[in-house]
Symmetry: D2
Subunit: 157 residues, 4 copies
């Protein structure tokens, strides 16, 4: 599927990097942006022993968090000026244990709409030099226009 | 929907509490079990400023993590001895900003099967003494029999 | 979860029954509304041999269709005058084979919002006098205000 | 994502075409297989006025049915001999109104596992000679080994 990928806000990249920097949870787990272009955002997360489930693989919730965030910022590359992006919902398949030295979540737009944007994200793990897929996300993001800085809860969604 | 809720392993509660204690990520974010019975597991998470997205609400990925975990342990209450529980997939709607002093995710079994268990979880937030729903999850958990301690990745799922 | 269930349009019931009557696919498969109240819509579908998959159970797509439709009309009970309701997305677990003489899909609102409404639907089958759950849906509906009669494709969603 | 796409049953194609031919609901709506290869199944559905919702677009349930079926048969290309394929669950985003003269659902494997297979399907509509995406599905299929001909309900899943 080939969406139109034209940023509407010339400051989109600065807004996204600033928004990501203010997500305290991304700093808490150690995720960072490694690639960013209109319609795409890729995050990287190094393995850490304090991010695991009981079998010492990275917790599915952490994988979901980077997948969701990569997808949300992929949508945000096309957001209007003074808009905020909310995750409406997502579905994720955890297709293999999250085992490896580092993880990448590549979020992309499936279809950009005026209010809603459909997104996907593929999460892969690198182990011993080989990348393997570990999760696949399909979700829905929403633009809240005029709420760029601080949407009030009662206004959402 | 009314599933049959009979634990198959008499040590189910100890196994679940032990499994939860070994999930390093749950300790990292500060979640704990506050209720547990056959077919149900409820987690509580106090608000912390380092778990947020850019609007100072708790990050959707954190909400998904506690919802997924509560649902997985709800399924695990009925797991056979020497089985492990994996999240196959889940879908979550983030229905309101995760704003509040603390959060609860209540996972429950929708339908218990031999291999797959369908689960749901409702996440609520307490703010100024009032609890409000913030997310709803519907997902699928899988029993891996004979893999209770350490499932090898190539065996999954 | 307890949403506010106050219809905004006094003609909501007539609009829903009229909208349902104009869904040719519901007539094609033989579904009808058997219960309707603010926030809830229940459909019934008798078994027919031409609605099946290869094992002579009702096709999962038919089950998804009545689940989606019941959920959409549940949301529509609260729609503003001159609005249309669209299915943004849904997720459905097919939890048992759709075997029986008739099927019911009960759609309900999980959370009513201004633009988006989160809905669920439970589908049950009656066989030999006993009702059993066969599917569970969680989805997202959208109001398109001012588009009550005939939304143009380019305006959606 | 690049799954291993090696059929395990040399009669896979005949089994799939036979299984599709026995899905009465696919005949009822007029869908047929237009492409089939290991890991992929594409269906085509001509527009018909009796398959619509109230705005004269094809009903989302019909779109979901062909998406689910294409994804299930994509998984089935790799099924063991004497296995049946069940839809465990799917999630679908309806990204544009299903308007056009005909529709195609292209199901593909995201990740093939021993018991579970993760699948996706893209549905497109042709209108005035142009194909546009209308839906995207992500789901989970299950092999029931030894149940190739007629799985009993109590054995599922």
């Amino acid at each position: 599927m080939a969406p139109e990928l034209k940023p509407r806000d010339p400051t989109w990249e600065a807004r996204i990097r600033n928004g990501f920097a203010r997500q305290s949870f991304m700093a808490t787990i150690g995720a960072r942006i490694v690639a960013l272009s209109p319609g795409m955002c890729e995050l990287e997360l190094p393995f850490r022993a304090d991010l695991c489930q009981q079998h010492a693989y990275v917790h599915g919730g952490v994988i979901a968090a980077i997948a969701d965030t990569s997808a949300g910022f992929a949508a945000a590359t096309l957001m209007p000026a003074d808009a905020a992006v909310l995750t409406v919902e997502f579905k994720i398949n955890l297709i293999a244990p999250a085992e490896g030295e580092r993880f990448r979540a590549r979020g992309e737009i499936v279809r950009a709409g005026r209010t809603l944007t459909v997104v996907e994200s593929e999460v892969s793990a690198e182990k011993d030099g080989t990348w393997r897929p570990v999760a696949q996300l399909l979700g829905t993001m929403m633009f809240l226009v005029g709420k760029g800085e601080s949407p009030a809860p009662e206004e959402q969604p």
